[in-house]
């Protein structure tokens, strides 16, 4: 592989070696992300089996249509992220920047929908743990347990969406300056992997929170 446009760091044999190593680093980081979210998923599954009524009652207040909308928004953003990488690889600066911008826009739409969901829940008193002051049906106590999981899981995921948007903006600005080409696009690739993981987590969060509940 030619290194015409990118000089690899001296501790790598080649630009290709540098690319593969960077990518492996990203995958190891994604592993830690999976373990972090994995703990929450395991906790949710166990508690929802111990207290099924609490989780069924809590999930009733979620609007699956908003969840489905956000799923489609994130899947679209994953496609445009892939296109952003594709056009960076093919030296098409304009199309790369356009697709990265659409990806950020999708992230913003996702967060906007989340904002409406959150404000609605805060207004209704559907809050975590001891702060819960929403409706309490007969025979069910501590629905706040459900909302502890809901806010923790979607909140942590939302932080990842915001972080991802910031990272995509960073590669967008670099793409705009023409820093990427078929020989060097490692940052777009790495940010893309992170963004797909954020999508991947939502793929499991959506049925868990909105559909099965």
């Amino acid at each position: 592989m030619s290194t015409d446009n990118h000089h690899h760091s001296h501790h790598f044999d080649s630009a290709e070696h540098e690319y593969a190593t960077s990518k492996e680093g990203i995958w190891l980081f994604l592993t830690s992300e999976i373990l972090m979210f994995g703990g929450l998923f395991v906790g949710y599954i166990i508690y929802s089996n111990i207290y099924p009524q609490v989780f069924q009652e809590g999930a009733k207040h979620l609007d699956w249509r908003l969840g489905a909308l956000n799923t489609i928004v994130l899947l679209t953003s994953s496609l445009t992220m892939v296109l952003g990488i594709h056009y960076s690889q093919h030296n098409d600066r304009k199309k790369a920047v356009f697709n990265l911008a659409v990806t950020i826009l999708c992230g913003a739409i996702f967060m906007l929908v989340k904002y409406f969901e959150y404000t609605h829940k805060i207004h209704e008193g559907l809050l975590p743990g001891k702060w819960y002051h929403g409706p309490v049906p007969e025979g069910i106590s501590n629905i706040g347990l459900y909302y502890s999981f809901y806010f923790m899981m979607t909140g942590l995921h939302g932080i990842h969406v915001l972080a991802g948007m910031g990272l995509i903006l960073w590669v967008l600005l670099r793409a705009q300056k023409g820093e990427f080409n078929s020989h060097y696009y490692t940052p777009v690739e790495g940010v893309g992997l992170f963004w797909h993981l954020v999508d991947l987590i939502w793929i499991f969060l959506f049925p868990l929170l909105y559909l099965v509940g």
């Binding site: 990518k23 999976i34 373990l35 395991v42 899947l75 496609l79 797909h196 499991f204 049925p207």
Partner: protein, 103 residues
């Protein structure tokens, strides 16, 4: 990739097909969860579809299908450890002496 220095570029057509499949699966999971009732198998259906979607994203969008095997091993290992966490927790809970909780 790697030795020969060629990065496998997945065609745009493939990406669009994968995207269409992902949207299709999303509609399917909503249709099965809202329109049909499989009783206690509801969550099995929903998570089978979610897993299929996850495989598509990882194989094509994250190019695991064409990438170095070590990346597949890394990601498989992380899912395995989440599975271990789950199994040990469930094993613990299932073998406890039942206590009545005030929760």
């Amino acid at each position: 990739m790697g030795q020969n220095g060629e990065h496998h570029a997945i065609s745009l057509n493939t990406h669009l097909k994968v995207f269409a499949a992902l949207i299709g699966f999303t509609l399917l999971t909503v249709a099965t969860a809202k329109g049909m009732d499989f009783g206690s198998f509801n969550w099995v259906v929903a998570f089978t579809i979610a897993t299929a979607k996850a495989f598509l994203v990882m194989a094509y969008f994250m190019h695991l299908k064409y990438d170095e095997k070590i990346f597949k091993a890394i990601i498989a290992l992380s899912f395995f450890f989440v599975f271990l966490l789950f199994i040990f927790c469930v094993g613990d809970l299932a073998t406890r002496i039942v206590q009545t909780s005030t929760l």
